[in-house]
Symmetry: D2
Subunit: 158 residues, 4 copies
């Protein structure tokens, strides 16, 4: 069994934006989920990754795909507070659901980031309808390849 | 029957680059085909459409997809000769197969461009495994949407 | 007398980054000064204006020009604190001197922003060797025009 | 005497576009001249250098600066003919005067290119009011630095 097919752990979110109800991977089982992990002060996220996730959110709006932005703060904690994130979401006109990764009790790495063993931001994780991780990428991703991966996950039988 | 599902007419090519043998849609039946129609002096092609088609050619290299660049010269015929196209292909390091659309006998519009009723350049046409036109777009296309469409065509049963 | 030649008011800064000593326009009299007013959560600043000011800082490093970044927070005050700005400066690797515009006592507009009657962010103000305002622009500025204006200010006799 | 201050040799042009009368450096003595040497099939010219020269032409339109595009064809001669260049100028909406560098009798390098010892395309040469070369650059140039250099040449006494 390859690393790609391991079951995704659950996300741990302390606060949500752009959604009326909290989201869980368990509740989304049967649908593909794209998690975009970012930090609002990460230049590569702001310039590329976050606009790309927002673009996917809008392009696949009428499909089963669920895009989730995850604010995985692992540095500059005093700067990237939920209040600051809210202003960031407003200024950059983000409409996808965005969750604050639970800071946890142990060190600077938040809970979901640790569970998925993310290496930094931006990280892009695609989860299939069956709850398994289909792709886990760190750094800049090509739009064309991402579009293809998402379609593949959408077409796959639940 | 919608316009999207009409059978693609055959391409008419007077000269090929980057391929040992001439390509035909009939010979490619069973595989998805992406046709990128361009002119080497069309700014929107040079800046966006042609690099995008080349990117698709490389990204889906190990799949069934066949990308075809088609030089559909409908203006400035004296400038965009096959000799000029060859230099263009060399300078822009294009590796996808590229055909010169047959100039034909009747007016400035080349044969394949007329058969497909293309509106100008760049034009992006995606043909399914069954030989039907899945998408016909004029102007700039999003990488993410193109990647998704190609994957959809690849997954569809022949 | 045109608006362009009015004497620049003094800047009011509550905290400095990237400089050992506080800067004042009075102390810089005799040298041209470029003030780049920005907010760390202003998308047009992050994508264009702030990198442009940093570029000017580096390009004209060996000349008399003094570039000053001015954090003119007039919205989202709870998000754009000095602590957050410090993280922003670190992440975006800014090396020009940056001052926090004094928040003042009256309403959301900080002191220097009000004194210069700035319309928003990004704002670019070029001050001549004689202390007069040579240019006051709001929004995106062309690199080529900015380079020309700076050189003109540098060549002018004190 | 540094290489920068050598007198510019005369340009040799076999055909002009976008100007009613032929231009010569002798005739332009007393004014700064920016020569942008390019080839219409040089990707770095099309994407960056040529739009930059056109931008300078428009930005400094009301000054003494004369911008000259020079088509210095040293490869793919059969592709980059004057007819092809005319179509290129039309499609890219270039309005600066553009001359075809005289092909000469000896080898592939055209006359002006050889006289200036240009290394390739794009090349940017700035000539002062006194007819001396102020700057000779090969490859991509920064807009901000170019704007500053042009202004410096404009302000210099004849």
């Amino acid at each position: 069994m390859s690393a790609e097919s391991m079951p995704a752990p659950e996300i741990a979110v302390s606060k949500w934006f752009n959604t009326d109800a909290p989201l869980t991977l368990a509740g989304l089982r049967g649908r593909p989920v794209l998690i975009h992990a970012f930090q609002m002060l990460c230049p590569g996220c702001v310039a590329h990754g976050t606009p790309q996730a927002e673009k996917a959110h809008r392009l696949f709006e009428k499909t089963d795909l669920q895009v989730i932005g995850l604010h995985t703060v692992f540095e500059h904690h005093a700067a990237m507070t939920p209040v600051a994130l809210e202003a960031f979401i407003h200024e950059y006109r983000l409409t996808m659901p965005i969750g604050v990764d639970d800071a946890g009790q142990e060190g600077p790495i938040p809970v979901t980031m640790a569970r998925f063993a993310m290496r930094g931001t931006p990280t892009s994780i695609l989860i299939g309808r069956d709850g398994n991780v289909l792709h886990h990428g760190f750094g800049q991703e090509e739009d064309m390849a991402l579009g293809a991966r998402i379609m593949q996950a959408l077409i796959a039988a639940p």
